[in-house]
């Protein structure tokens, strides 16, 4: 008996020390999620009974599939353009040009600002009489009409990129700066010009970092709520749709079902993404 307690002591102490954290985890995270899942299987407005009706309704509805498609397109578009923007930016910043500290700080700006404020500001900036259009109309003589950005899909992607590219940019910059410069020099001495060094050496080596960053950007973009709510107009990605379903139509069970579908879609996509891109790096 004595030896039993002796053996279990360390495990018990660990359990006791972990219990506040576990309680928080289950109470604040796991329990609400479980509730949402359960709610999604309940008939609307009831506390009892089980039904698959909500899932059947949404998954069979072409309009819902469009919403899912739109959410994906926005997130993928934002991720792709974030990577395309982050790579050259990080490559330049790595060389530490004059004023790069200010620039590095300004990368954080979209992360520090509340998304709602950013969204409103972007709407103003890109509106038909906003600064962006005033500038473009002045500079480009062939432009006869202001560019329509607000409430369009390219506009939404542009806003998403502005809001969520820092995640990709920072990780890209960090992996670039962790690279040993002599490896690139070795490739140069061996006969590779800068483009080939970039392609054969730098890009493969920073791939894990870029991947990690782009996953963050993707998740932020997929789950974005306040920005599409304010700037999306008729384009309503899943998060906005769920919000409408719950607060406007008060269909909580239906909204829960959508939320579960959204979570599943996100997890599935990310798993595939990681599998495809994350070939083991030597």
């Amino acid at each position: 008996m004595n030896s039993f307690w002796h053996k279990q002591r360390e495990g018990l102490i660990t359990l006791v020390l972990l219990s506040p954290g576990l309680a928080g985890f289950f109470g604040l995270f796991f329990y609400p999620m479980l509730l949402t899942v359960i709610l999604s299987f309940r008939p609307e407005g009831r506390e009892v009974g089980w039904t698959l009706a909500h899932y059947a309704r949404f998954l069979g509805d072409p309009a819902f599939r469009d919403v899912l498609g739109l959410t994906f397109s926005l997130a993928v578009g934002a991720t792709v353009f974030s990577v395309l923007l982050s790579l050259p930016l990080a490559l330049v910043l790595r060389e530490k040009p004059k004023g790069n500290r200010l620039f590095r700080l300004s990368i954080l700006l979209p992360m520090m600002m509340p998304h709602l404020i950013s969204a409103l500001g972007l709407l103003l900036f890109w509106s038909k009489r906003g600064w962006a259009n005033l500038f473009l109309l002045t500079v480009l003589p062939f432009l006869k009409e202001p560019v329509a950005v607000n409430y369009t899909i390219p506009g939404l992607i542009l806003f998403y990129v502005w809001l969520f590219y820092p995640y990709t940019c920072l990780t890209t910059l960090a992996s670039l700066e962790a690279l040993d410069r002599s490896i690139e020099e070795a490739a140069e001495v061996a006969g590779a010009n800068r483009l080939r060094v970039l392609w054969h050496i730098v890009l493969p080596l920073i791939r894990p970092g870029v991947l990690a960053g782009s996953v963050l950007t993707f998740m932020m973009a997929f789950g974005a709520f306040s920005v599409p709510l304010v700037t999306g107009g008729n384009y309503r990605p899943l998060s906005v749709q769920i919000f409408t379903q719950a607060t406007l139509y008060l269909e909580w069970s239906a909204a829960s079902a959508m939320a579960v579908v959204m979570a599943m879609a996100q997890v599935t996509f990310l798993t595939i993404y990681m599998r495809v891109l994350r070939r083991p790096i030597a």
């Binding site: 002599s182 061996a190 030597a282």
Partner: protein, 359 residues
């Protein structure tokens, strides 16, 4: 065809106010292994980077095989280089690392395979092609680095402290391996190091650098036997410096007053009475004996201040007269203990004058 494989002509490189290379002029012959030797910060790495094209000299020109490469980008210079930290491509296998320069040069797959296999054989790592760098030991990684630098037969092989990251025993082994390869391939090589022993063992000629300038260029023997400056004498091997005034010249012997001691030296051309000169003698060239057993103008007497037993030799620190300290190393057994008086013979032909002392 130019006589020289590499020529630095009056190369100067500044970083802000710091002059890293000042009027470097150096010719390196075909098939020669030239070492740039000096303490850290002496400018040897800057000179090497000027040669690779990673630095652009502010003044002067650099020629490789008679061609002015000063403005040529690195990748067009056809150099091979071995790095201190190996700098292998971590995402490629050893085979792919060695293959990389050939792929860049657009060789066919069969040609590449043949040359890589040959290069791996050259560095005795035939079976290791499929290993990633992290699976190889330091010595093996550096040999892959060597194979990668040689596989495309560059016109020049550059080695930037290639042995510094290896342990002592391996370092000595690799030293001979590198030298052997260089001679077998007949390739011109520039070797950068701060390790004088390495430099003496490997080089056909050594360029000693100090504060951005080349102090002396010569064969290892010339550098060791006839150092051109106090810096060189001090940097290469151990030296005792004797600074004094010429008091008399009598035929073959010049008398020098060092502090309050009188010392005889072999007369060098142009020695004048009253001149300040700096002479040096190596610690292993000094002879010790019991007091009173030796005599002559080159014999002094002193006291052993400190004796250190080093196994194959014994290191004495002697005090001669009031202030002059002399370091002596002699082989064999301990013959004198601290506090004992000894007779010290500074052989005339081994006490060499290296120009005027600091006035």
């Amino acid at each position: 065809m130019s006589d020289y494989m590499i020529e630095f002509v009056n190369v100067t490189k500044r970083y802000g106010d710091i002059v890293a290379n000042e009027h470097i002029t150096l010719q390196i012959k075909r098939g020669e292994l030239m070492t740039l030797l000096g303490p850290s910060g002496c400018g040897k790495t800057t000179a090497l980077r000027c040669l690779t094209g990673h630095n652009h000299p502010d003044e002067g020109r650099i020629f490789i095989d008679g061609q002015d490469v000063t403005d040529l980008p690195t990748y067009k210079r056809n150099l091979g280089m071995v790095f201190q930290n190996f700098a292998l491509f971590p995402h490629m296998t050893a085979f792919e690392n060695v293959e990389f320069p050939l792929r860049i040069r657009g060789l066919s797959q069969s040609e590449r395979r043949e040359k890589v296999v040959e290069a791996l054989k050259l560095v005795r790592l035939e079976g290791y092609g499929s290993h990633f760098p992290r699976q190889l030991s330091g010595g093996q990684q550096q040999r892959i680095g060597l194979a990668r630098a040689l596989v495309y037969r560059p016109s020049v092989l550059l080695l930037d402290e290639p042995l510094s990251n290896l342990d002592a025993k391996l370092r000595e082994e690799m030293r001979f391996e590198i030298k052997d390869l260089q001679v077998r391939l007949g390739i011109t090589a520039v070797y950068v190091t701060h390790d004088q022993e390495e430099a003496l063992a490997l080089s056909d000629r050594v360029a000693i650098m100090n504060k951005g300038r080349i102090e002396q260029v010569g064969t290892p023997e010339e550098i060791y036997e006839r150092p051109g400056s106090q810096f060189v004498a001090d940097f290469i091997g151990l030296s005792n410096f004797l600074e004094g005034t010429v008091t008399a010249v009598e035929g073959e012997t010049t008398y020098l007053a060092v502090d309050n001691l009188s010392l005889g030296l072999a007369t060098t051309a142009g020695a004048r009475v009253g001149q300040r000169v700096l002479a040096f003698v190596r610690p292993n060239e000094v002879e010790l004996a019991a007091p009173g057993t030796m005599s002559g103008p080159e014999v002094l007497e002193g006291v052993v201040e400190k004796m250190t037993y080093l196994g194959d030799k014994v290191d004495y620190r002697l005090r001669l007269g009031d202030r002059l300290m002399l370091r002596v190393q002699s082989g064999g057994t301990v013959r004198f203990k601290a506090g004992e008086r000894v007779a010290v013979r500074l052989p005339m032909e081994r006490c060499r004058v290296i120009g005027g002392g600091k006035a």
